[in-house]
């Protein structure tokens, strides 16, 4: 039976060494690892669901709940920390009214933190969907989120 993730699974051999790449590909496609996906992956690779879950939960990249439409990742690496990363995070938390790891009630935004995206010279940074935002300030956070919301509403 073909499921939404079988196309991903079929690209890999049924070998434990492919477990993490498979989890990554499935998450890329589905945005998170649902219980159904975990169960299917377990069957495909031939390791127990418990074992799949135990590996996946070890790595911070993997999510087990559905994320929002957009993801805000605030960098809390050292360079960003000493240049005010915490204030950027606090501002996003206030604006979206969520904490890291959560999704807004309307399902629009998820908030995550990340330890360095390698753009330290532009600190503090955050990533909105896949775009790196440089030299952030609380004001820039407010403006950015406002302009995104406005652009979306206009598009509707």
């Amino acid at each position: 039976m073909a499921t939404t993730i079988s196309s991903v699974l079929n690209q890999h051999s049924r070998d434990r060494r492919n477990l993490i790449p498979i989890l990554q590909k499935v998450q890329e496609k589905e945005k998170y690892l649902s219980p159904a996906s975990i169960s299917e992956i377990s069957g495909y690779v031939g390791i127990s669901e418990n074992d799949v879950y135990s590996v996946a939960s070890f790595y911070s990249q993997f999510r087990f709940t559905k994320p929002g439409e957009h993801t805000v990742k605030v960098c809390l690496g050292t360079a960003c920390h000493v240049r005010g990363g915490a204030r950027v995070l606090e501002t996003v938390e206030r604006e979206l009214k969520i904490k890291p790891g959560e999704t807004t009630a309307d399902g629009k935004y998820s908030l995550e933190t990340v330890a360095c995206i390698g753009a330290c010279a532009l600190a503090p940074t955050m990533v909105l969907d896949n775009e790196v935002q440089r030299s952030m300030t609380p004001q820039k956070v407010v403006d950015l989120l406002k302009s995104r919301n406005k652009a979306e509403n206009d598009a509707k």
Binding site: R16, I20, R94, G118, A119, A121, L122, R134
Partner: protein
């Protein structure tokens, strides 16, 4: 690069510059040039120049004119003035933060002038997605030499003679590491490139892979030949999508041209490389955890021995080297160990790459010969601190490293001397801070990072760091006790002794060095409930100065929790019970008023209720009378 063009414009498309829309700038340039019908100009892109803070960056040949902070709006002027009229655009030149002079040429910029770029030799000078560019700059010559003229033992001897030590942090001699693995009898061996770059605040390895991926592949293939490995893995952080993409392109090209794959360059030697993306676990930078992760398991370190050279990936002999270590290998083979061993200090040969960040004027990637002093790196290359502020400390080596004070500025940088001072060479993170960084807070920052990233296997690493963290939190919140510093030192010893891997073993370093060099700051928090850097929220207060406030109301609008009261032309007041210390009011109060202030350990006299602007002076002097 050979070309018949009068001008070549190289736009940087590394992660930093791309975030400044450099890709769009390149497309706009190409469009404009086509539109003008110019056929004497080539537009191309490069990887990271390491001066990301000035980005988006462009270099225009001939003469390497260096443009900074480009925007789409500069495109027309560059084409019109520089290309069509031969007049470079002065306003886009780099402005030296010290002399304030505009500097047109790449080679004259202090940031680059004092560097010696060996590992970064190609970064910013070639298109990383074209193997031809790499080959043009001696690329794959070293591999040809090795396969054509050298035995594996000769390669190992050459690397040993060069004095090259691992750039991943510990500084283990690379030639010796290869020899251990070479000696093992096994039909299968593995070569791994550690591109996990776990230090949260460093981007050396990312830049190299984005700007010069082939050098990593070439170095890795030579290493594989030396140890006798037929298969290799590059284990790279998932947070680096661009580096992953460029590596994959480079691998494909390299295979197409026969530099990797079966019977490389017609020899008996075959080598395949896989790319594995990490999944966000710092501990996977540790060798045994990294291998467990490639095997599809939880990334938990295991005891050594057996060492990876004996029993590594899937139980086979394995060598693991850092990106920078491998990027150095082709140069050593090409130029010889004698040349290489003349660079650097007695025991630390060659160059070191640092990601110089924090409160530094010229933030970016810096490569210098070992033995250069911190002062030269921070002041001559880094241009000193932003705004000419005073230096407070430099943090080397990330969560495993330490913080050094101003008295260490004349320390020559090498493995031994940094270690003696309590810091480590690390992988290359170098973060400079000024008086606005609280050292207790910084120690807590690193410790909470390692605490979070501990794999949990060892009790001391898991629980000991948690206890230390709680003590630091108490101190920061103003609940510190006099005996806390001694307790921290004691716990630090226990954590160091009771940890299996270096994550736990080095986790106390940031705490130990801040206590060693900044004990007075700990004491101010504990004894005076004061944060000298004005960072720790429980110990600071914001006030609006009644003699300066003009009642403009800007701060009131900027306050997220309505803690500020006052109508127009009234002196505004902050309700200390409501204030969440976000600092917005301080940011937005117009500079000409400068009416908001931040203090620690003191209470300022301000009116209880908003009063008319100008009326405060009187009440204060009345009180005094």
């Amino acid at each position: 690069m050979p070309n018949n063009n009068e001008y070549t414009i190289y736009i940087c498309e590394g992660t930093g510059c791309v975030s400044g829309k450099s890709h769009e700038i390149r497309l706009a340039l190409e469009h404009k040039i086509a539109e003008q019908g110019l056929n004497n100009v080539k537009v191309d892109f490069t990887g990271c120049h390491g001066f990301c803070e000035q980005g988006p960056i462009a270099i225009i040949e001939p003469n390497e004119i260096f443009y900074t902070r480009l925007t789409i709006n500069d495109v027309d002027e560059i084409v019109q003035s520089h290309i069509m009229e031969g007049k470079p655009v002065e306003r886009l030149f780099f402005k030296d933060p010290i002399s304030n002079r505009s500097i047109p040429y790449y080679r004259d910029i202090n940031f680059y002038r004092k560097q010696q770029r060996i590992i970064l030799r190609n970064c910013g000078h070639i298109n990383p997605e074209k193997i031809e560019d790499y080959i043009e700059r001696e690329g794959y010559n070293a591999l040809k030499k090795v396969l054509g003229q050298m035995t594996s033992l000769q390669v190992i001897e050459e690397i040993k003679q060069s004095g090259l030590r691992g750039r991943g942090g510990a500084g283990f001699p690379t030639g010796m590491k290869w020899e251990f693995c070479q000696k093992e009898q096994s039909d299968i061996k593995y070569m791994i490139c550690n591109a996990d770059e776990g230090d949260p605040g460093a981007f050396m390895d990312r830049s190299i892979m984005e700007a010069d991926p082939h050098t990593v592949i070439e170095g890795m293939t030579i290493a594989a030949y030396a140890i006798g490995a037929g298969e290799g893995y590059i284990y790279i952080r998932a947070e680096y999508p661009l580096a992953v993409k460029r590596l994959r392109i480079a691998l494909q090209q390299s295979e197409n041209m026969g530099f990797i794959g079966d019977n490389i360059l017609g020899s008996e030697f075959s080598f395949k490389i896989h790319v594995n993306e990490g999944a966000g676990a710092f501990v996977c930078g540790e060798e045994t955890a990294l291998m467990a992760s490639i095997e599809g398991k939880r990334g938990m370190p295991r005891p050594r021995p057996p060492f990876p050279a004996q029993s590594g990936l899937w139980g086979k002999p394995t060598t693991i080297n850092n990106v920078k270590t491998l990027a150095t290998v082709p140069v050593i083979i090409n130029k010889g160990s004698e040349w290489y061993s003349k660079i650097g200090t007695d025991k630390s040969k060659g160059t070191a790459v640092f990601a110089l960040t924090g409160k530094i004027s010229n933030s970016g990637l810096v490569e210098v010969p070992m033995g250069m002093t911190l002062r030269e790196i921070i002041y001559d290359i880094g241009g000193g601190l932003i705004g000419g502020k005073d230096f407070k400390a430099v943090q080397n080596g990330g969560p495993s490293g330490g913080c050094l004070p101003a008295s260490a500025l004349d320390l020559p940088v090498d493995y031994e001397r940094l270690a003696a001072a309590g810091a480590i060479m690390g992988s290359g993170g170098m973060i400079v801070v000024d008086s606005q960084t609280c050292m207790v807070d910084l120690a807590k920052y690193f410790l909470s990072f390692t605490q979070e990233e501990s794999c949990g296997k060892c009790v001391m690493c898991r629980e000991g760091t948690l206890q230390m963290l709680k003590i630091l939190e108490d101190i920061i919140e103003g609940n510190g006790k006099e005996e806390d510093i001694d307790l921290l030192l004691e716990l630090a010893k226990a954590v160091q002794a009771g940890s299996l891997c270096a994550l736990g073993g080095t986790a106390p370093n940031p705490v130990l060095t801040t206590i060693r060099y900044f004990r007075d700051e700990y004491e101010a928090h504990i004894k005076e409930k004061r944060c000298p850097a004005l960072v720790c929220k429980n110990l600071i207060n914001f006030y609006i100065l009644p003699d300066k406030c003009q009642g403009c109301g800007i701060c009131k609008r900027g306050c997220p929790v309505d803690a500020i009261s006052g109508d127009k032309r009234m002196i505004h007041i902050i309700d200390q019970n409501k204030c969440i210390k976000c600092g917005n009011c301080l940011d937005v109060c117009p500079e000409r008023f400068n009416a908001v202030t931040k203090v620690s350990g003191e209470k300022l006299q301000v009116p209880q209720e908003p009063i008319a602007v100008g009326s405060w002076q009187n009440s204060e002097s009345e009180e005094k009378l």
